[in-house]
Amino acid sequence: MTDRQGQIQDTARGWLESGEVKYVVGFEQGRRAGTKVAFVRRPEDADKLVWNSMCVNNLTLFLVEEMQTRPGRGEELDTTPIGIVVKPCDSKTIVELMKENIVARERVKIIGVTCEGVCDTKKVDGSEKQPPAVTDENIAGKCLVCTHHNPLIADVVCGEAVPETITDDYSDVAELEAMTPQERWEYWERQLERCVRCYGCREACPLCYCEECVFDREKPYRWNEKSVQLPENTFYHLVRAMHLAGRCVDCGECERVCPVDIPIRKINRYLEWKAKERYDVEAGVDPEDDSMFGTCDTADPEDFIW
C-alpha cells in the first residue's frame, strides 16, 4: 500500500514540476480513517496524497467537471491536462467517458493504481482513527465481483499487477430474478419508499453527466413531480437505471453515498448482466467499442419486449 502511495506522490510531483498537468486530483487523509478529495496544485504538496483502503471515491467525477468547465467571458479555455488518481474500476469510467466523447484523452494524465479492494465505508466504524485493513467483513460489495484489478487505461501504473481470480456469475442479482414480479415489486417498494431524493446517487455518478438532468427540467414540462413519494421516487430510479444500462461500470458510488442505504448497485448490476447476456456489451473496457444505445442491430434479441 505505502509503495503505491510513494509512486503516486512521485508521479504527481514530477508532473506538477514539469508543468505537464495543472493540478492532480487524488486522496488526502481526512480527520479520521476516511479520506478527502485533494486538488494538488504545487509539487511541494504532492506529499499529502495518500493511498489506502478508504480511497473509495471515484474521482473521475472531477475530470468530467473539468471537461465541462467553460471559459469566462473574454477568457481562453485552458486545455492543459489534469492529473487524476484512479482505481481500476474508476479507470473504466474514463474509458466509457472517452467512448461518449465527454473526455478527450489528451486532457487527462492518469495515475492508475492496481487494487485488491477497498472498504465499504458504511461497514467501518466512524470513530476509527486509521484506515483499517480490508477484510472479508468490511470489503466493498463491488470488490467481491470485480474482474479488473489492474487499470484499463493509465499513463503510469502504481503497484504490482494483481492477478485476476474472480469469475463474475451475477449470483448476487440472480436472487432478484428468481423473485416473482410481485415479490420484486414489494422489495423495491420497501427500498424506494425511503429515498429522500437528495440526488446524491446522480451527483456522485461520473456517468450522470447531463448538464441539465431531466429531473431538474421544468420546461417545456416537468417529467417527474417533486413529490418525494413512492411513485415519483420509483420513476426517478427507473429512468436513471435506463440511462445507465450498458454504461454503468459498477464503481459503486451511487450506493456508497446513499444516506438511506438504498441498494442501488442491485439495479445497475442487473442491467450490466443483461447487457452482457443479450448484446455482449461490457462497459468501460475498450474506448473503441460501440455504445450499446448508439448501435442498432437487427439481430438484437427482443424477447423482453412484449
Partner: protein, 354 residues
C-alpha cells in the same frame, strides 16, 4: 416531580394513547426515520438518518386540493386536518432543540398553519443520549445544547436499563404522566442519581468541539474570498447536508395536476441544488457551487441569527456523517476564522508596503 416507567409498560402506554397520533423512530433495513406508529415505540437506537422535523414539516405535504372546470381551476379546499393530539417518542435533544428554531421560523413573518397546527397538538418526548449516541460527530455541547437538553422538550426520558427515568419539563409533559396513570411510578433518589450518571457519561462521550466565537464576524469579511472555491472544490452538489439537517427548512411549492384534479404541494428543497436559485427567466444568481456552499454557511451562522436570534445548527453531526466527500461543517467554519485572520494580515501588509 420525576417518575419512571418500566420498558415492559410501553405496550400499555401505547394503548393508553389510543386517542393520539403517535410518532416515533422506525427502522427499515437498518435505516431509521420517524413514522406514525401502530405499536409501542422501539427506542433502542442511535439517531435517525432523517430527522424528526418530518413529523411537523413532512418532506412532501399537500397544502390544498382543487379541480379543473373548463379552463379554470376551482374549489381550492384545504385537506381535512387531524384534530387528535399528537405524541412523538424518542427525539434526541439536539433535534428537539431544532423544533424551537422551526417554531420561530414558521411564525416569523407569516404564521404557517400546517406546521403550527401540528406543533400545538404535539407532546415531544426526548431521549437522553446513551448507547450508540453521542457518536463521533456529535457536538451539541458546543452549541449551548446537551445530550440531555430540554429545549423544545415536554418530557425528558433517560434510559436506566429496564426502565426510563421521566422528567416532566412542561405542562404537556405532566399531562402525559396523568394520562399514563399508574404506568408511571414516582422516582426514588437512586433513579435520580442513576439518570444523572447517564447524563454525565453522555457529555463525556462527546469528542468534538466547535469554537464559533468568531465565526459570524469572520464570515462577514470573507464574502468575496477564494476560500469558498477551495472548500467547495470537492462538493458534488447533492442535497444531503441540508435535507437531513434538523434545522434546514427550505421548501418548494408546486401544483400537481392530473386528469382534472390537482393539489398544491410543498416539498423540502435544498440550497445546494443548482436549480434552487434559478429564476423563471433562466438567470441563476448562484450558479457556482462555491456560492452555494457559502450560502449554506452564511444562512446558518449569519442570516438565521439576524432574523430569528439563533444559529441554524444544533450540532447533531448528520451533515458531517452523510457527506460523500467528507466536508465537515466545523472544519469549514473554523477554517473560515483562520482564513479571515490570514487575509486581514495580508491586507495589512499590503497597505504597509503601499
Amino acid at each position: 416531580m420525576s417518575h419512571t416507567i418500566g420498558k415492559d409498560k410501553m405496550d400499555a402506554l401505547f394503548e393508553a394513547l389510543s386517542e393520539h397520533e403517535v410518532y416515533g423512530p422506525v427502522e427499515v433495513d437498518g435505516v431509521w426515520t420517524y413514522k406514525k406508529l401502530d405499536s409501542a415505540p422501539d427506542l433502542e437506537f442511535g439517531n435517525s438518518q432523517v430527522p424528526p422535523k418530518s413529523v411537523f414539516f413532512p418532506q412532501t405535504e399537500t397544502m390544498f386540493e382543487f379541480k379543473r372546470d373548463g379552463a379554470r381551476f376551482v374549489g381550492a379546499e384545504e385537506p381535512q386536518r387531524a384534530s387528535k393530539p399528537l405524541v412523538v417518542f424518542g427525539v434526541r435533544p439536539c433535534d428537539a432543540k431544532a423544533f424551537t428554531l422551526l417554531d420561530k421560523l414558521f411564525t416569523w413573518d407569516y404564521i404557517d398553519p400546517y406546521f403550527v397546527d401540528r406543533r400545538e397538538r404535539a407532546t415531544t418526548i426526548a431521549l437522553t443520549c446513551s448507547g450508540q449516541k453521542p457518536d463521533e460527530n456529535c457536538f451539541c455541547t458546543s452549541i449551548e445544547g446537551s445530550p440531555s437538553g430540554t429545549e423544545g422538550v415536554d418530557s425528558l426520558w433517560t434510559d436506566l436499563g429496564d426502565r426510563y427515568f421521566v422528567e416532566s419539563v412542561t405542562e404537556k409533559g405532566e399531562a402525559l404522566i396523568e394520562l399514563g396513570g399508574n404506568l408511571f411510578v414516582e422516582a426514588v433518589s437512586d433513579d435520580e442519581s442513576s439518570a444523572e450518571e447517564v447524563k454525565e457519561n453522555a457529555v463525556k462521550a462527546i469528542t468534538r468541539t466547535f469554537d464559533r466565537a468568531e465565526v459570524a464576524e469572520s464570515l462577514r469579511c470573507l464574502f468575496e474570498s477564494k476560500y469558498w472555491e477551495d472548500i467547495s472544490a470537492s462538493c458534488i452538489g447533492c442535497g444531503m447536508c441540508t435535507l437531513l439537517c434538523p434545522t434546514c427548512h427550505c421548501f418548494d411549492i408546486n401544483d400537481v395536476v392530473k386528469q382534472g384534479e390537482g393539489r398544491r404541494e410543498r416539498t423540502w428543497d435544498s440550497c445546494q441544488f443548482e436549480y434552487y436559485s434559478s429564476h423563471a427567466s433562466g438567470h441563476n444568481p448562484r450558479p457556482a457551487k462555491r456560492m452555494r456552499q457559502r450560502n449554506r454557511m452564511y444562512h446558518k451562522f449569519l442570516y438565521i441569527d439576524n432574523n430569528l436570534g439563533v444559529i441554524g445548527c444544533v450540532g447533531c453531526g448528520r451533515c458531517i456523517s452523510a457527506c460523500p466527500v467528507n466536508i465537515d461543517i466545523i472544519d469549514v467554519t473554523e477554517g473560515a476564522v483562520a482564513r479571515a485572520c490570514m487575509e486581514k494580515d495580508a491586507d495589512a501588509k499590503g497597505e504597509e508596503a503601499a
